[in-house]
Amino acid sequence: MKNRDEIAERLAASGYIADGELATAISLMQSLRRPLLLEGEAGVGKTEVAKALAALHTTELIRLQCYEGLDQSAALYEWNYQRQLLAIQAHQGQNASEVEDQIFSEKYLLERPLLAAIRREEPPVLLIDEIDRADDEFEAFLLELLSDFQISIPELGTIKATSIPLVVLTSNGTRELSDALRRRCLYHYVDYPDVDREARIIMARVQGASASLALQIARMVENIRKEDLRKVPGVAETLDWAVALIGLDIRDLHDDPEIVHETLMCLLKTREDKARFKPEITAKLLGKVA
């Protein structure tokens, strides 16, 4: 068993402040060889986990961004049609089946993320981002790939994985994922970090953030999250805000409540939320921040 404290430490070194549970998940991922499914609100740092994981293993990160209508030719492989057409012209007059053999060889194959991930010498980290945006059919296809780690290309035959990648899937919950896919994966729910961890994240990510300011920002953001908002600010927004405050040379949130209020646009991303947050509310929340 890999020591999970050690994993958490090494993640922290690469700029990701993990909680103990995530470290457990990562060590389990290695010992059970299962993909990790991360769910959580937008902006809590799901994608960052994969990046940190790649840094942890000092290996390549291959990313597949899912969207509606994503199909095999964008995710798996594609033939290089231009080259194929040229080759057919160049070999005119030859036996048709010979030409076919030639143009459907590896030379004419374009790797897409999924194929690339299983053909590396060193196992990479494969990030399948926002799987809930892809169609059901693609999910089913992915399931097959994740269980066998082999791909069959009709013209070429079956390609077996040379190395099994570490797979991280993320989902925002815009669509219910199939039970089959869920069962194949380890599950981790990424929640908004607590004040302590968020302060540490700010200090790790934002240059020039003092401990006291980071803590103040984290407390303030926690209070804001408790308000009834349409779009709750994530960690990414917190970092934006911290950068903005430091850029405006704020050392303490109580120094200049006006600037604090004005910079809240880094956190509040809808008109309704912005309209709800009157200066008095900001002042009230600031009062709660020691």
């Binding site: 068993m1 999970r4 389990l28 815009t174 869920r182 069962r183 380890l186």
Partner: protein, 398 residues
């Protein structure tokens, strides 16, 4: 306990661990976790890797392994503690020697509680509910009596003959089916290949020396419309609930994608319970879930819950939301208006079916319905089968 060359004692310990693990897996299944045999095997591997040294670590490891969704994730710790730590188990040796799950009092109570509530419990909404689920049931059987000649024109609440009711149910299911096929036919008629499929084109033209003579086109992918039904199950609606539940049952069967919610003072996601093959049993399960029916209706609050927790998951741009309610709001009518406005932004169409609207002399005077109407695309009566059937052409155009 890993590695080869085990002593007989090791084997005994292994067997005990396996038994205990099997018990845990069963408990999880009772609590609606989707756990297969593979998870069981992996769990044994996890223990063999040394995660069993410390309960905290084991809990965290099992949590990742056995959970498949947020609901599981949230309740896992409680189940784990009840099962493994119920007897203040601190070390692995005690874990392995612990008694069977049924003899474990804390666990047993957990199981009993679960059995009592039935499977529907976990389908309840994430909204924290202050009241305990009461255990009375019996809702929404139709009352009144009238021997009418034309069934299609009989108000649902006046039907009492079981045959008539069955007939009404069948018609509702049939309607759902008719609506579905209309809904999808429009997409079929538009199916012309509009993009070249280069891969197949090249393949098809190798014999022509690469000159693309035969073109292969890609077809447009069919995307079914999704229907989300929100059914009011409050006291004022009780006479209609049964028929509409049958109607929803038909919808869930016939539509590729449909979701159903029930609301009164709180909102419940009922699609799973409704997928019960037998409508009568579905009704039983539902009446267990829809406790508090017969009280007031807080439509605004329920819609808020829906918008906040469910909408992102169940609604997309091809969704039609159908609200079946009489619009008697006991909560804040302004909230209802606001939430309706939000809902309208999210989905393609909002249909409001009101059984009362078919009554003689009814006018939408209630504060709730007044606030909601500006945001509704179609407002229609739905107290007879005829009025439901009249919706078909409109729904087909969505």
């Amino acid at each position: 306990m890993s590695g080869s060359g085990k002593s007989p004692i090791d084997h005994d310990v292994d067997r005990l661990v396996a038994t205990r693990l099997a018990g845990f897996v069963t408990t999880l299944r009772d609590n609606a976790f989707a756990v297969g045999s593979r998870e069981g095997k992996d769990a044994a591997a996890v223990i063999a890797e040394g995660y069993g040294e410390c309960p905290e670590l084991l809990r965290s490891a099992f949590k990742h392994l056995f959970s498949t969704r947020k609901a599981d994730w949230d309740k896992f710790d409680g189940i784990f503690d009840a099962f493994w730590l119920g007897k203040r188990v601190k070390s692995r040796s005690t874990i392995t020697g612990a008694s069977k799950p049924v003899n474990n009092p804390s666990l047993k109570s957990l199981q009993d509680r679960n059995a009592e509530r039935g499977d529907g419990e976990q389908a309840f909404d994430q909204m924290p509910s202050p009241e305990d689920p009461p255990n009375g049931r019996g809702e929404g059987r139709m009352e009144g009596a009238s021997q009418a000649i034309n069934l299609a024109e009989v108000d649902f609440r006046k039907m009492s003959d079981p045959d008539q009711i069955t007939q009404a149910h069948a018609a509702a299911a049939q309607l759902a089916q008719a609506m579905r096929s209309r809904l999808t036919r429009r997409y079929l008629a538009r199916r012309h290949g509009y993009r070249l499929d280069i891969r197949r084109t090249i393949h098809a033209n190798i014999a022509h020396g690469g000159t693309p003579i035969t073109l292969v086109k890609r077809r447009r992918k069919d995307k079914p419309l999704r229907l989300v039904v929100l059914l009011d199950a409050s006291g004022s609606m009780s006479m209609y609930t049964a028929v509409f539940i049958r109607f929803i049952h038909g919808m869930l069967d016939e539509f590729h994608e449909a979701e159903a919610f029930l609301f009164h003072t709180q909102l419940a996601h009922v699609s799973d319970a409704m997928k019960e093959r037998d409508p009568a049993r579905a009704l039983d399960r539902l009446s267990m879930m829809a406790q508090g029916a017969g009280g007031g209706t807080r439509i605004g609050l329920c819609l808020q819950t829906f918008n906040r927790w469910h909408a992102a998951r169940v609604i997309h741009s091809r969704t039609c939301v159908m609200i079946v309610s009489d619009g008697y709001e006991t909560g804040d009518a302004n909230l209802l208006g606001r939430e309706m406005a939000q809902l309208t932004k999210r989905c393609r169409r909002v249909v409001w079916l009101n059984p009362m609207a078919g009554w003689d002399g009814y006018a939408p005077e209630a504060a709730g319905i007044k606030a909601a109407l500006p945001h509704v695309d179609l407002y229609a009566p739905a107290n007879t089968l005829e009025s439901l059937l009249a919706l078909e052409p409109y729904l087909a155009k969505l």
